[in-house]
Homo-oligomer: 96 residues x 7
Protein backbone atom coordinates (compact mmCIF):
# COMPACT_ATOMS: atom_id res chain seq x y z
CA UNK A 1 0.00 0.00 0.00
CA UNK A 2 1.17 3.47 -0.90
CA UNK A 3 -0.15 6.81 0.30
CA UNK A 4 -0.07 9.91 -1.86
CA UNK A 5 -0.19 12.88 0.58
CA UNK A 6 -2.22 15.86 -0.57
CA UNK A 7 -0.64 19.27 -1.14
CA UNK A 8 1.92 20.18 1.56
CA UNK A 9 1.53 17.07 3.66
CA UNK A 10 4.38 14.75 4.52
CA UNK A 11 4.31 11.20 5.84
CA UNK A 12 6.99 10.56 8.40
CA UNK A 13 8.05 7.46 10.32
CA UNK A 14 9.58 8.15 13.73
CA UNK A 15 13.10 6.82 14.09
CA UNK A 16 15.37 6.59 17.08
CA UNK A 17 18.01 9.29 17.22
CA UNK A 18 21.54 8.03 17.59
CA UNK A 19 24.51 9.80 19.04
CA UNK A 20 28.06 8.93 18.16
CA UNK A 21 30.73 9.65 20.74
CA UNK A 22 34.12 11.02 19.84
CA UNK A 23 35.44 7.47 19.91
CA UNK A 24 32.79 6.37 17.47
CA UNK A 25 30.52 4.52 19.90
CA UNK A 26 26.84 4.89 19.05
CA UNK A 27 24.60 5.77 21.99
CA UNK A 28 20.85 5.51 21.45
CA UNK A 29 18.69 8.17 23.11
CA UNK A 30 17.19 7.26 26.43
CA UNK A 31 14.30 4.94 25.77
CA UNK A 32 10.80 5.87 26.82
CA UNK A 33 10.77 9.23 25.09
CA UNK A 34 9.25 9.31 21.65
CA UNK A 35 11.89 10.48 19.23
CA UNK A 36 11.48 13.89 17.56
CA UNK A 37 13.10 12.61 14.42
CA UNK A 38 11.82 10.63 11.53
CA UNK A 39 12.28 9.56 7.98
CA UNK A 40 10.15 11.02 5.23
CA UNK A 41 8.15 8.26 3.53
CA UNK A 42 6.11 10.36 1.12
CA UNK A 43 5.55 14.01 0.24
CA UNK A 44 2.71 15.89 -1.47
CA UNK A 45 3.01 18.04 -4.57
CA UNK A 46 3.49 21.20 -2.58
CA UNK A 47 1.59 23.95 -0.89
CA UNK A 48 -0.98 25.85 -2.91
CA UNK A 49 -0.10 29.50 -2.35
CA UNK A 50 -2.46 32.44 -2.16
CA UNK A 51 -1.70 33.29 -5.78
CA UNK A 52 -2.80 29.81 -6.81
CA UNK A 53 0.68 28.55 -7.64
CA UNK A 54 2.10 25.41 -6.10
CA UNK A 55 5.27 25.77 -4.07
CA UNK A 56 7.46 22.66 -4.36
CA UNK A 57 8.25 20.85 -1.14
CA UNK A 58 11.43 21.61 0.78
CA UNK A 59 11.87 18.00 1.93
CA UNK A 60 12.04 14.79 -0.08
CA UNK A 61 11.51 11.08 0.47
CA UNK A 62 14.32 9.63 2.57
CA UNK A 63 15.14 12.89 4.35
CA UNK A 64 15.77 12.63 8.07
CA UNK A 65 13.69 15.37 9.66
CA UNK A 66 13.30 17.05 13.02
CA UNK A 67 9.84 17.95 14.31
CA UNK A 68 8.11 19.10 17.46
CA UNK A 69 6.91 16.62 20.07
CA UNK A 70 3.27 17.14 19.14
CA UNK A 71 3.63 17.59 15.40
CA UNK A 72 1.38 15.73 13.01
CA UNK A 73 -1.41 13.29 13.34
CA UNK A 74 -0.80 9.65 13.99
CA UNK A 75 -2.44 7.19 11.58
CA UNK A 76 -2.15 3.46 11.25
CA UNK A 77 -1.15 2.23 7.84
CA UNK A 78 -1.01 -1.56 7.46
CA UNK A 79 -0.78 -1.88 11.21
CA UNK A 80 2.20 0.44 11.45
CA UNK A 81 1.97 3.89 13.02
CA UNK A 82 3.13 6.81 10.92
CA UNK A 83 2.76 10.57 11.28
CA UNK A 84 1.09 12.78 8.73
CA UNK A 85 2.22 16.37 9.15
CA UNK A 86 2.51 19.52 7.11
CA UNK A 87 5.84 20.73 5.79
CA UNK A 88 5.19 23.65 8.11
CA UNK A 89 5.61 21.34 11.09
CA UNK A 90 9.04 20.18 10.05
CA UNK A 91 11.72 22.24 11.74
CA UNK A 92 14.74 21.06 9.85
CA UNK A 93 16.50 18.38 7.90
CA UNK A 94 19.29 16.45 9.60
CA UNK A 95 22.28 16.21 7.34
CA UNK A 96 24.27 13.28 8.53
CA UNK B 1 -30.82 10.37 -3.40
CA UNK B 2 -27.71 12.20 -4.52
CA UNK B 3 -25.85 15.00 -2.75
CA UNK B 4 -23.95 17.66 -4.64
CA UNK B 5 -21.34 19.02 -2.18
CA UNK B 6 -20.68 22.74 -2.37
CA UNK B 7 -17.26 24.12 -3.30
CA UNK B 8 -14.39 22.21 -1.66
CA UNK B 9 -16.49 19.76 0.29
CA UNK B 10 -16.20 16.00 -0.06
CA UNK B 11 -18.61 13.28 1.04
CA UNK B 12 -16.83 10.26 2.43
CA UNK B 13 -18.04 6.90 3.70
CA UNK B 14 -15.85 5.30 6.34
CA UNK B 15 -14.51 1.89 5.35
CA UNK B 16 -12.60 -0.71 7.29
CA UNK B 17 -8.90 -0.74 6.59
CA UNK B 18 -7.51 -4.09 5.60
CA UNK B 19 -4.02 -5.38 5.89
CA UNK B 20 -2.61 -8.08 3.72
CA UNK B 21 0.15 -10.21 5.15
CA UNK B 22 3.14 -11.33 3.12
CA UNK B 23 1.34 -14.62 2.54
CA UNK B 24 -1.68 -12.81 1.21
CA UNK B 25 -3.98 -13.24 4.21
CA UNK B 26 -6.21 -10.22 4.80
CA UNK B 27 -6.34 -9.02 8.41
CA UNK B 28 -9.02 -6.49 9.28
CA UNK B 29 -8.06 -3.74 11.71
CA UNK B 30 -8.96 -4.31 15.31
CA UNK B 31 -12.65 -3.68 15.65
CA UNK B 32 -13.95 -0.99 17.97
CA UNK B 33 -11.87 1.81 16.53
CA UNK B 34 -13.53 3.92 13.89
CA UNK B 35 -11.48 3.63 10.73
CA UNK B 36 -9.60 6.70 9.49
CA UNK B 37 -10.14 5.68 5.92
CA UNK B 38 -13.04 6.09 3.59
CA UNK B 39 -14.28 6.11 0.08
CA UNK B 40 -15.12 9.37 -1.65
CA UNK B 41 -18.80 9.38 -2.64
CA UNK B 42 -19.06 12.89 -4.05
CA UNK B 43 -16.90 15.99 -4.49
CA UNK B 44 -17.68 19.67 -4.98
CA UNK B 45 -16.54 21.82 -7.87
CA UNK B 46 -13.48 23.05 -6.04
CA UNK B 47 -12.33 25.69 -3.63
CA UNK B 48 -12.98 29.30 -4.50
CA UNK B 49 -9.61 30.98 -4.11
CA UNK B 50 -8.91 34.49 -2.94
CA UNK B 51 -8.53 35.63 -6.53
CA UNK B 52 -12.02 34.35 -7.28
CA UNK B 53 -10.90 31.40 -9.37
CA UNK B 54 -11.98 27.87 -8.60
CA UNK B 55 -9.27 25.34 -7.83
CA UNK B 56 -10.22 21.86 -9.04
CA UNK B 57 -10.40 19.14 -6.43
CA UNK B 58 -7.40 16.91 -5.75
CA UNK B 59 -9.56 13.86 -5.00
CA UNK B 60 -12.24 12.19 -7.09
CA UNK B 61 -15.21 9.89 -6.57
CA UNK B 62 -14.05 6.39 -5.70
CA UNK B 63 -10.73 7.49 -4.18
CA UNK B 64 -9.76 5.77 -0.96
CA UNK B 65 -8.73 8.56 1.41
CA UNK B 66 -7.04 8.93 4.75
CA UNK B 67 -8.30 11.51 7.25
CA UNK B 68 -7.90 12.51 10.87
CA UNK B 69 -9.96 10.91 13.61
CA UNK B 70 -12.07 14.01 14.08
CA UNK B 71 -12.31 15.19 10.49
CA UNK B 72 -15.61 16.18 8.99
CA UNK B 73 -19.13 16.36 10.19
CA UNK B 74 -21.31 13.32 10.39
CA UNK B 75 -24.69 13.49 8.63
CA UNK B 76 -27.33 10.87 8.04
CA UNK B 77 -28.31 10.39 4.44
CA UNK B 78 -31.09 7.85 3.83
CA UNK B 79 -30.42 6.36 7.24
CA UNK B 80 -26.75 5.84 6.53
CA UNK B 81 -24.02 7.84 8.23
CA UNK B 82 -21.56 9.64 5.99
CA UNK B 83 -18.92 12.29 6.64
CA UNK B 84 -18.88 15.68 4.96
CA UNK B 85 -15.42 17.18 5.12
CA UNK B 86 -13.33 19.70 3.27
CA UNK B 87 -10.59 18.64 0.89
CA UNK B 88 -8.34 20.34 3.44
CA UNK B 89 -9.18 17.61 5.94
CA UNK B 90 -8.05 14.81 3.68
CA UNK B 91 -4.48 13.86 4.40
CA UNK B 92 -3.81 11.59 1.49
CA UNK B 93 -5.07 9.18 -1.10
CA UNK B 94 -4.35 5.48 -0.63
CA UNK B 95 -3.08 3.99 -3.82
CA UNK B 96 -3.72 0.30 -3.60
CA UNK C 1 -43.73 39.32 4.84
CA UNK C 2 -40.59 38.74 2.80
CA UNK C 3 -36.97 38.84 3.93
CA UNK C 4 -34.18 39.87 1.63
CA UNK C 5 -31.00 38.30 3.06
CA UNK C 6 -27.87 40.41 2.82
CA UNK C 7 -24.83 39.28 0.82
CA UNK C 8 -24.06 35.56 1.27
CA UNK C 9 -26.82 34.79 3.70
CA UNK C 10 -29.47 32.17 3.09
CA UNK C 11 -32.80 31.64 4.83
CA UNK C 12 -33.61 27.99 5.35
CA UNK C 13 -36.59 26.16 6.79
CA UNK C 14 -35.83 22.82 8.40
CA UNK C 15 -37.67 19.90 6.85
CA UNK C 16 -37.94 16.28 7.85
CA UNK C 17 -35.71 13.96 5.87
CA UNK C 18 -37.47 11.00 4.31
CA UNK C 19 -36.05 7.68 3.33
CA UNK C 20 -37.49 5.47 0.69
CA UNK C 21 -36.91 1.76 1.01
CA UNK C 22 -36.17 -0.46 -1.94
CA UNK C 23 -39.84 -1.37 -2.04
CA UNK C 24 -40.82 2.27 -2.18
CA UNK C 25 -42.04 2.69 1.39
CA UNK C 26 -41.22 6.11 2.83
CA UNK C 27 -39.69 6.03 6.31
CA UNK C 28 -39.44 9.33 8.16
CA UNK C 29 -36.30 9.89 10.23
CA UNK C 30 -36.54 9.08 13.89
CA UNK C 31 -38.43 11.90 15.52
CA UNK C 32 -36.86 13.92 18.30
CA UNK C 33 -33.73 14.84 16.37
CA UNK C 34 -33.79 18.15 14.58
CA UNK C 35 -33.34 17.47 10.89
CA UNK C 36 -30.10 18.60 9.20
CA UNK C 37 -31.94 19.34 6.01
CA UNK C 38 -33.98 22.26 4.88
CA UNK C 39 -35.48 24.15 2.04
CA UNK C 40 -33.99 27.42 0.90
CA UNK C 41 -36.56 30.22 1.27
CA UNK C 42 -34.41 33.17 0.21
CA UNK C 43 -30.83 33.93 -0.81
CA UNK C 44 -28.71 37.07 -0.81
CA UNK C 45 -26.99 38.59 -3.81
CA UNK C 46 -23.73 36.80 -3.11
CA UNK C 47 -20.56 37.10 -1.13
CA UNK C 48 -18.49 40.21 -1.55
CA UNK C 49 -15.00 38.95 -2.29
CA UNK C 50 -11.73 40.49 -1.26
CA UNK C 51 -11.37 42.05 -4.70
CA UNK C 52 -14.71 43.79 -4.25
CA UNK C 53 -16.60 41.64 -6.72
CA UNK C 54 -19.74 39.78 -5.79
CA UNK C 55 -19.70 36.02 -6.16
CA UNK C 56 -23.14 34.67 -7.14
CA UNK C 57 -24.72 32.19 -4.76
CA UNK C 58 -24.29 28.46 -5.30
CA UNK C 59 -27.78 27.66 -3.99
CA UNK C 60 -31.17 28.97 -5.06
CA UNK C 61 -34.67 29.28 -3.66
CA UNK C 62 -36.33 25.88 -3.43
CA UNK C 63 -33.08 23.92 -3.12
CA UNK C 64 -33.05 21.15 -0.54
CA UNK C 65 -29.85 21.64 1.44
CA UNK C 66 -27.79 19.77 3.99
CA UNK C 67 -26.20 21.63 6.89
CA UNK C 68 -24.46 20.96 10.16
CA UNK C 69 -26.40 20.48 13.40
CA UNK C 70 -25.39 23.88 14.73
CA UNK C 71 -25.42 25.88 11.53
CA UNK C 72 -27.13 29.22 11.33
CA UNK C 73 -29.02 31.39 13.71
CA UNK C 74 -32.63 30.77 14.52
CA UNK C 75 -35.03 33.69 14.06
CA UNK C 76 -38.77 33.90 14.31
CA UNK C 77 -40.51 35.29 11.28
CA UNK C 78 -44.29 35.65 11.57
CA UNK C 79 -44.25 33.19 14.43
CA UNK C 80 -42.41 30.55 12.45
CA UNK C 81 -38.84 29.55 13.18
CA UNK C 82 -36.37 29.73 10.29
CA UNK C 83 -32.59 29.55 10.10
CA UNK C 84 -30.41 32.28 8.71
CA UNK C 85 -27.04 30.90 7.71
CA UNK C 86 -24.21 31.73 5.37
CA UNK C 87 -23.72 29.85 2.13
CA UNK C 88 -20.49 28.73 3.79
CA UNK C 89 -22.54 26.72 6.29
CA UNK C 90 -24.34 24.73 3.63
CA UNK C 91 -22.59 21.46 2.97
CA UNK C 92 -24.42 20.34 -0.09
CA UNK C 93 -27.55 20.33 -2.18
CA UNK C 94 -29.71 17.21 -2.18
CA UNK C 95 -30.66 16.28 -5.68
CA UNK C 96 -33.74 14.17 -5.41
CA UNK D 1 -28.93 65.14 18.47
CA UNK D 2 -27.78 63.23 15.41
CA UNK D 3 -25.15 60.51 15.20
CA UNK D 4 -23.06 59.96 12.12
CA UNK D 5 -21.89 56.32 12.26
CA UNK D 6 -18.36 55.67 11.06
CA UNK D 7 -17.66 53.42 8.07
CA UNK D 8 -19.83 50.28 8.02
CA UNK D 9 -21.68 50.94 11.24
CA UNK D 10 -25.44 51.15 11.48
CA UNK D 11 -27.63 52.57 14.24
CA UNK D 12 -30.73 50.51 14.83
CA UNK D 13 -33.70 50.90 17.14
CA UNK D 14 -35.35 47.67 18.23
CA UNK D 15 -39.01 47.41 17.27
CA UNK D 16 -41.64 44.87 18.16
CA UNK D 17 -42.33 42.35 15.43
CA UNK D 18 -45.95 42.02 14.45
CA UNK D 19 -47.71 39.10 12.89
CA UNK D 20 -50.81 39.38 10.84
CA UNK D 21 -53.16 36.43 10.77
CA UNK D 22 -54.94 35.30 7.64
CA UNK D 23 -57.96 37.23 8.83
CA UNK D 24 -55.89 40.37 9.19
CA UNK D 25 -55.61 40.44 12.97
CA UNK D 26 -52.27 41.75 14.18
CA UNK D 27 -50.64 39.63 16.90
CA UNK D 28 -47.66 41.12 18.69
CA UNK D 29 -44.81 38.75 19.55
CA UNK D 30 -44.84 37.31 23.01
CA UNK D 31 -43.63 40.00 25.34
CA UNK D 32 -40.55 39.46 27.45
CA UNK D 33 -38.27 38.53 24.58
CA UNK D 34 -36.24 41.32 23.07
CA UNK D 35 -37.20 41.64 19.41
CA UNK D 36 -34.63 40.69 16.77
CA UNK D 37 -35.92 43.36 14.45
CA UNK D 38 -35.29 47.03 14.25
CA UNK D 39 -35.45 50.17 12.21
CA UNK D 40 -32.30 51.68 10.78
CA UNK D 41 -31.81 55.20 12.15
CA UNK D 42 -28.47 56.04 10.56
CA UNK D 43 -25.82 54.40 8.38
CA UNK D 44 -22.12 55.07 7.80
CA UNK D 45 -20.49 55.77 4.46
CA UNK D 46 -19.60 52.17 3.89
CA UNK D 47 -16.93 49.62 4.62
CA UNK D 48 -13.38 50.42 3.68
CA UNK D 49 -12.23 47.42 1.69
CA UNK D 50 -8.77 45.92 1.59
CA UNK D 51 -8.08 47.72 -1.69
CA UNK D 52 -8.85 51.03 0.00
CA UNK D 53 -12.14 51.61 -1.76
CA UNK D 54 -15.36 52.25 0.13
CA UNK D 55 -18.20 49.78 -0.42
CA UNK D 56 -21.59 51.49 -0.20
CA UNK D 57 -23.96 50.22 2.46
CA UNK D 58 -26.55 47.56 1.62
CA UNK D 59 -29.13 49.03 4.04
CA UNK D 60 -30.55 52.54 4.28
CA UNK D 61 -32.30 54.72 6.84
CA UNK D 62 -35.82 53.48 7.48
CA UNK D 63 -35.13 49.86 6.54
CA UNK D 64 -36.62 47.24 8.79
CA UNK D 65 -33.81 44.82 9.55
CA UNK D 66 -33.34 41.41 11.11
CA UNK D 67 -30.35 40.73 13.36
CA UNK D 68 -29.07 38.14 15.80
CA UNK D 69 -30.01 38.21 19.48
CA UNK D 70 -26.60 39.44 20.53
CA UNK D 71 -25.78 41.72 17.63
CA UNK D 72 -24.46 45.20 18.21
CA UNK D 73 -23.59 47.24 21.19
CA UNK D 74 -26.22 49.05 23.19
CA UNK D 75 -25.68 52.77 23.75
CA UNK D 76 -27.88 55.40 25.32
CA UNK D 77 -28.58 58.40 23.14
CA UNK D 78 -30.70 61.12 24.76
CA UNK D 79 -31.91 58.60 27.30
CA UNK D 80 -33.07 56.16 24.67
CA UNK D 81 -31.37 52.85 24.04
CA UNK D 82 -30.22 52.12 20.51
CA UNK D 83 -27.97 49.49 19.00
CA UNK D 84 -24.83 50.25 17.06
CA UNK D 85 -23.89 47.30 14.88
CA UNK D 86 -21.93 46.62 11.73
CA UNK D 87 -23.66 45.95 8.44
CA UNK D 88 -22.07 42.52 8.80
CA UNK D 89 -24.38 41.84 11.76
CA UNK D 90 -27.54 42.50 9.80
CA UNK D 91 -28.94 39.29 8.42
CA UNK D 92 -31.59 40.67 6.16
CA UNK D 93 -34.04 43.41 5.30
CA UNK D 94 -37.71 42.79 5.92
CA UNK D 95 -39.73 43.83 2.93
CA UNK D 96 -43.21 44.44 4.14
CA UNK E 1 2.43 68.28 27.43
CA UNK E 2 1.13 67.10 24.07
CA UNK E 3 0.74 63.57 22.78
CA UNK E 4 1.08 62.68 19.12
CA UNK E 5 -0.87 59.42 18.65
CA UNK E 6 0.68 56.93 16.25
CA UNK E 7 -1.13 55.83 13.08
CA UNK E 8 -4.87 55.24 13.62
CA UNK E 9 -4.93 55.99 17.31
CA UNK E 10 -7.13 58.65 18.87
CA UNK E 11 -6.93 60.28 22.30
CA UNK E 12 -10.32 60.86 23.82
CA UNK E 13 -11.47 62.48 27.04
CA UNK E 14 -14.73 61.12 28.46
CA UNK E 15 -17.46 63.73 28.83
CA UNK E 16 -20.85 63.59 30.45
CA UNK E 17 -23.70 63.17 27.99
CA UNK E 18 -26.47 65.72 28.34
CA UNK E 19 -30.07 65.40 27.36
CA UNK E 20 -32.26 68.33 26.54
CA UNK E 21 -35.96 67.95 27.13
CA UNK E 22 -38.56 69.31 24.74
CA UNK E 23 -38.84 72.34 26.98
CA UNK E 24 -35.10 72.92 26.78
CA UNK E 25 -34.13 71.69 30.22
CA UNK E 26 -30.78 69.92 30.27
CA UNK E 27 -30.76 66.61 32.14
CA UNK E 28 -27.39 65.04 32.84
CA UNK E 29 -27.17 61.26 32.54
CA UNK E 30 -27.52 59.30 35.72
CA UNK E 31 -24.28 59.59 37.61
CA UNK E 32 -22.29 56.52 38.49
CA UNK E 33 -22.09 55.16 34.97
CA UNK E 34 -19.04 56.08 32.99
CA UNK E 35 -20.14 57.99 29.91
CA UNK E 36 -19.73 56.40 26.48
CA UNK E 37 -19.02 59.75 24.91
CA UNK E 38 -15.94 61.83 24.70
CA UNK E 39 -14.11 64.62 23.02
CA UNK E 40 -11.27 63.90 20.65
CA UNK E 41 -8.07 65.50 21.95
CA UNK E 42 -5.62 64.24 19.33
CA UNK E 43 -5.57 61.98 16.29
CA UNK E 44 -2.83 60.06 14.49
CA UNK E 45 -1.90 60.40 10.84
CA UNK E 46 -4.11 57.56 9.80
CA UNK E 47 -4.17 53.81 9.41
CA UNK E 48 -1.48 52.20 7.32
CA UNK E 49 -3.37 50.00 4.89
CA UNK E 50 -2.29 46.68 3.51
CA UNK E 51 -1.15 48.37 0.31
CA UNK E 52 1.16 50.61 2.33
CA UNK E 53 -0.88 53.77 1.86
CA UNK E 54 -2.11 55.83 4.79
CA UNK E 55 -5.86 56.28 5.13
CA UNK E 56 -6.71 59.67 6.63
CA UNK E 57 -8.66 59.66 9.88
CA UNK E 58 -12.45 59.91 9.85
CA UNK E 59 -12.53 61.94 13.09
CA UNK E 60 -10.80 65.17 14.00
CA UNK E 61 -9.78 67.07 17.12
CA UNK E 62 -12.83 68.48 18.89
CA UNK E 63 -15.26 65.86 17.56
CA UNK E 64 -17.71 64.47 20.07
CA UNK E 65 -17.56 60.71 19.66
CA UNK E 66 -19.49 57.65 20.77
CA UNK E 67 -17.63 54.50 21.80
CA UNK E 68 -18.24 51.18 23.50
CA UNK E 69 -18.07 50.80 27.28
CA UNK E 70 -14.79 48.96 27.14
CA UNK E 71 -13.15 50.78 24.25
CA UNK E 72 -9.60 52.02 24.49
CA UNK E 73 -6.94 51.90 27.11
CA UNK E 74 -6.89 54.31 29.98
CA UNK E 75 -3.67 56.27 30.52
CA UNK E 76 -2.81 59.06 32.90
CA UNK E 77 -1.44 62.17 31.27
CA UNK E 78 -0.43 64.94 33.69
CA UNK E 79 -2.59 63.34 36.36
CA UNK E 80 -5.67 63.31 34.16
CA UNK E 81 -7.18 60.13 32.80
CA UNK E 82 -7.69 59.91 29.05
CA UNK E 83 -8.51 57.05 26.70
CA UNK E 84 -6.30 55.98 23.84
CA UNK E 85 -8.31 54.02 21.31
CA UNK E 86 -8.20 53.13 17.64
CA UNK E 87 -10.44 54.85 15.12
CA UNK E 88 -11.91 51.36 14.73
CA UNK E 89 -13.29 51.61 18.27
CA UNK E 90 -15.22 54.79 17.57
CA UNK E 91 -18.78 54.02 16.62
CA UNK E 92 -19.91 57.41 15.49
CA UNK E 93 -19.61 61.17 15.69
CA UNK E 94 -22.30 63.08 17.52
CA UNK E 95 -23.41 66.03 15.48
CA UNK E 96 -24.94 68.49 17.88
CA UNK F 1 26.54 46.30 25.01
CA UNK F 2 24.20 47.39 22.27
CA UNK F 3 21.08 45.68 20.98
CA UNK F 4 19.91 45.96 17.39
CA UNK F 5 16.16 45.23 17.43
CA UNK F 6 14.84 43.23 14.48
CA UNK F 7 12.26 44.67 12.09
CA UNK F 8 9.52 46.66 13.89
CA UNK F 9 10.76 46.11 17.41
CA UNK F 10 11.61 48.91 19.79
CA UNK F 11 13.60 48.84 23.01
CA UNK F 12 12.15 51.08 25.66
CA UNK F 13 13.24 51.98 29.17
CA UNK F 14 10.43 52.87 31.56
CA UNK F 15 10.69 56.36 33.02
CA UNK F 16 8.72 58.13 35.70
CA UNK F 17 6.12 60.52 34.38
CA UNK F 18 6.32 64.01 35.84
CA UNK F 19 3.61 66.59 36.14
CA UNK F 20 4.28 70.26 36.32
CA UNK F 21 1.78 72.42 38.15
CA UNK F 22 0.71 75.81 36.91
CA UNK F 23 3.25 77.34 39.27
CA UNK F 24 6.00 75.19 37.80
CA UNK F 25 6.35 72.68 40.62
CA UNK F 26 7.14 69.18 39.39
CA UNK F 27 5.01 66.41 40.94
CA UNK F 28 6.10 62.83 40.29
CA UNK F 29 3.36 60.26 39.75
CA UNK F 30 2.31 58.29 42.76
CA UNK F 31 4.95 55.65 43.38
CA UNK F 32 4.06 51.98 43.31
CA UNK F 33 2.53 52.04 39.85
CA UNK F 34 4.80 51.13 37.01
CA UNK F 35 4.93 54.07 34.64
CA UNK F 36 3.35 53.71 31.17
CA UNK F 37 5.97 55.94 29.67
CA UNK F 38 9.44 55.30 28.51
CA UNK F 39 12.36 56.42 26.46
CA UNK F 40 13.19 54.71 23.21
CA UNK F 41 16.69 53.19 23.40
CA UNK F 42 16.81 51.48 20.01
CA UNK F 43 14.58 50.83 17.02
CA UNK F 44 14.56 48.23 14.26
CA UNK F 45 14.71 48.93 10.54
CA UNK F 46 10.96 48.84 10.19
CA UNK F 47 8.10 46.49 9.61
CA UNK F 48 8.22 44.21 6.62
CA UNK F 49 4.91 44.74 4.91
CA UNK F 50 2.86 42.19 3.03
CA UNK F 51 4.22 43.51 -0.27
CA UNK F 52 7.76 42.84 0.94
CA UNK F 53 8.68 46.48 1.41
CA UNK F 54 9.99 47.81 4.70
CA UNK F 55 7.99 50.56 6.36
CA UNK F 56 10.26 52.96 8.26
CA UNK F 57 9.63 53.31 11.97
CA UNK F 58 7.39 56.06 13.30
CA UNK F 59 9.46 56.50 16.47
CA UNK F 60 13.15 57.22 16.91
CA UNK F 61 15.83 56.86 19.57
CA UNK F 62 15.26 59.35 22.38
CA UNK F 63 11.50 59.66 21.83
CA UNK F 64 9.36 59.65 24.95
CA UNK F 65 6.60 57.16 24.30
CA UNK F 66 3.32 56.10 25.85
CA UNK F 67 2.37 52.42 25.96
CA UNK F 68 -0.15 50.09 27.55
CA UNK F 69 0.41 48.61 31.00
CA UNK F 70 1.11 45.18 29.61
CA UNK F 71 2.96 46.13 26.45
CA UNK F 72 6.19 44.45 25.50
CA UNK F 73 8.33 41.79 27.00
CA UNK F 74 10.71 42.50 29.81
CA UNK F 75 14.33 41.48 29.30
CA UNK F 76 17.40 42.05 31.40
CA UNK F 77 20.27 43.68 29.58
CA UNK F 78 23.42 44.12 31.65
CA UNK F 79 21.37 43.72 34.80
CA UNK F 80 18.96 46.46 33.83
CA UNK F 81 15.37 45.77 32.90
CA UNK F 82 14.15 47.08 29.56
CA UNK F 83 11.05 46.43 27.48
CA UNK F 84 11.13 45.07 23.96
CA UNK F 85 7.89 45.88 22.19
CA UNK F 86 6.60 46.31 18.68
CA UNK F 87 5.93 49.74 17.22
CA UNK F 88 2.33 48.54 17.15
CA UNK F 89 2.31 48.59 20.96
CA UNK F 90 3.31 52.22 21.18
CA UNK F 91 0.26 54.44 21.49
CA UNK F 92 1.85 57.80 21.05
CA UNK F 93 4.87 60.04 21.33
CA UNK F 94 4.93 62.62 24.10
CA UNK F 95 6.00 65.95 22.75
CA UNK F 96 7.33 67.90 25.67
CA UNK G 1 25.56 16.00 12.74
CA UNK G 2 24.28 19.16 11.10
CA UNK G 3 20.73 20.49 10.94
CA UNK G 4 19.48 22.53 8.01
CA UNK G 5 16.50 24.55 9.36
CA UNK G 6 13.59 24.99 6.96
CA UNK G 7 12.50 28.42 5.75
CA UNK G 8 12.54 31.08 8.52
CA UNK G 9 13.64 28.80 11.34
CA UNK G 10 16.73 29.40 13.42
CA UNK G 11 18.59 27.03 15.71
CA UNK G 12 19.82 28.71 18.85
CA UNK G 13 21.89 27.52 21.78
CA UNK G 14 21.18 29.29 25.06
CA UNK G 15 24.21 31.04 26.54
CA UNK G 16 24.74 32.72 29.86
CA UNK G 17 24.57 36.50 29.71
CA UNK G 18 27.58 38.26 31.18
CA UNK G 19 27.80 41.71 32.56
CA UNK G 20 31.01 43.64 32.74
CA UNK G 21 31.35 46.25 35.45
CA UNK G 22 32.95 49.61 34.87
CA UNK G 23 36.16 48.17 36.28
CA UNK G 24 36.04 45.31 33.82
CA UNK G 25 34.92 42.55 36.19
CA UNK G 26 32.59 40.07 34.54
CA UNK G 27 29.47 39.22 36.55
CA UNK G 28 27.41 36.28 35.36
CA UNK G 29 23.63 36.60 35.65
CA UNK G 30 22.07 35.07 38.69
CA UNK G 31 21.98 31.33 38.20
CA UNK G 32 18.71 29.45 38.20
CA UNK G 33 17.07 31.56 35.52
CA UNK G 34 17.32 30.27 32.02
CA UNK G 35 19.10 32.89 29.96
CA UNK G 36 17.14 34.77 27.27
CA UNK G 37 20.18 34.95 25.08
CA UNK G 38 21.73 32.52 22.72
CA UNK G 39 24.05 31.92 19.85
CA UNK G 40 22.69 31.20 16.41
CA UNK G 41 23.87 27.76 15.24
CA UNK G 42 22.03 27.53 11.95
CA UNK G 43 19.51 29.53 9.89
CA UNK G 44 17.04 28.61 7.17
CA UNK G 45 16.91 30.11 3.69
CA UNK G 46 14.36 32.69 4.69
CA UNK G 47 10.67 33.22 5.02
CA UNK G 48 8.47 32.49 2.05
CA UNK G 49 6.36 35.62 1.66
CA UNK G 50 2.78 35.87 0.49
CA UNK G 51 4.00 36.82 -2.98
CA UNK G 52 6.02 33.61 -3.14
CA UNK G 53 9.41 35.28 -2.82
CA UNK G 54 11.89 34.30 -0.15
CA UNK G 55 12.96 36.99 2.29
CA UNK G 56 16.55 36.50 3.40
CA UNK G 57 17.13 36.04 7.11
CA UNK G 58 17.97 39.01 9.32
CA UNK G 59 20.26 36.96 11.56
CA UNK G 60 23.27 34.82 10.71
CA UNK G 61 25.26 31.97 12.22
CA UNK G 62 27.27 33.19 15.20
CA UNK G 63 24.96 36.09 16.05
CA UNK G 64 24.19 36.57 19.71
CA UNK G 65 20.43 36.97 19.93
CA UNK G 66 17.82 38.00 22.47
CA UNK G 67 14.53 36.13 22.68
CA UNK G 68 11.49 35.79 24.90
CA UNK G 69 11.45 33.37 27.84
CA UNK G 70 9.10 30.99 26.07
CA UNK G 71 10.39 31.35 22.54
CA UNK G 72 11.06 28.32 20.40
CA UNK G 73 10.79 24.63 20.87
CA UNK G 74 13.41 22.66 22.69
CA UNK G 75 14.89 19.67 20.85
CA UNK G 76 17.71 17.36 21.74
CA UNK G 77 20.43 17.07 19.14
CA UNK G 78 23.22 14.61 19.96
CA UNK G 79 22.21 14.77 23.60
CA UNK G 80 22.48 18.53 23.74
CA UNK G 81 19.44 20.76 24.11
CA UNK G 82 18.96 23.49 21.51
CA UNK G 83 16.06 25.77 20.65
CA UNK G 84 14.42 25.88 17.25
CA UNK G 85 12.57 29.15 16.79
CA UNK G 86 11.36 31.36 14.00
CA UNK G 87 13.16 34.57 13.09
CA UNK G 88 9.93 36.19 14.24
CA UNK G 89 10.69 35.10 17.80
CA UNK G 90 14.06 36.81 17.88
CA UNK G 91 13.78 40.26 19.38
CA UNK G 92 17.20 41.58 18.61
CA UNK G 93 20.85 40.96 17.95
CA UNK G 94 23.32 41.82 20.68
CA UNK G 95 26.22 43.73 19.25
CA UNK G 96 29.07 43.29 21.66
Amino acid sequence: MKIRPLHDRVIVKRVEAERTTASGIVIPDSAGEKPDQGEVLAVGNGKIQDNGEVRPMAVKVGDRVLFGKYAGQSVKVEGEEVLVMREEDIMGVIEA
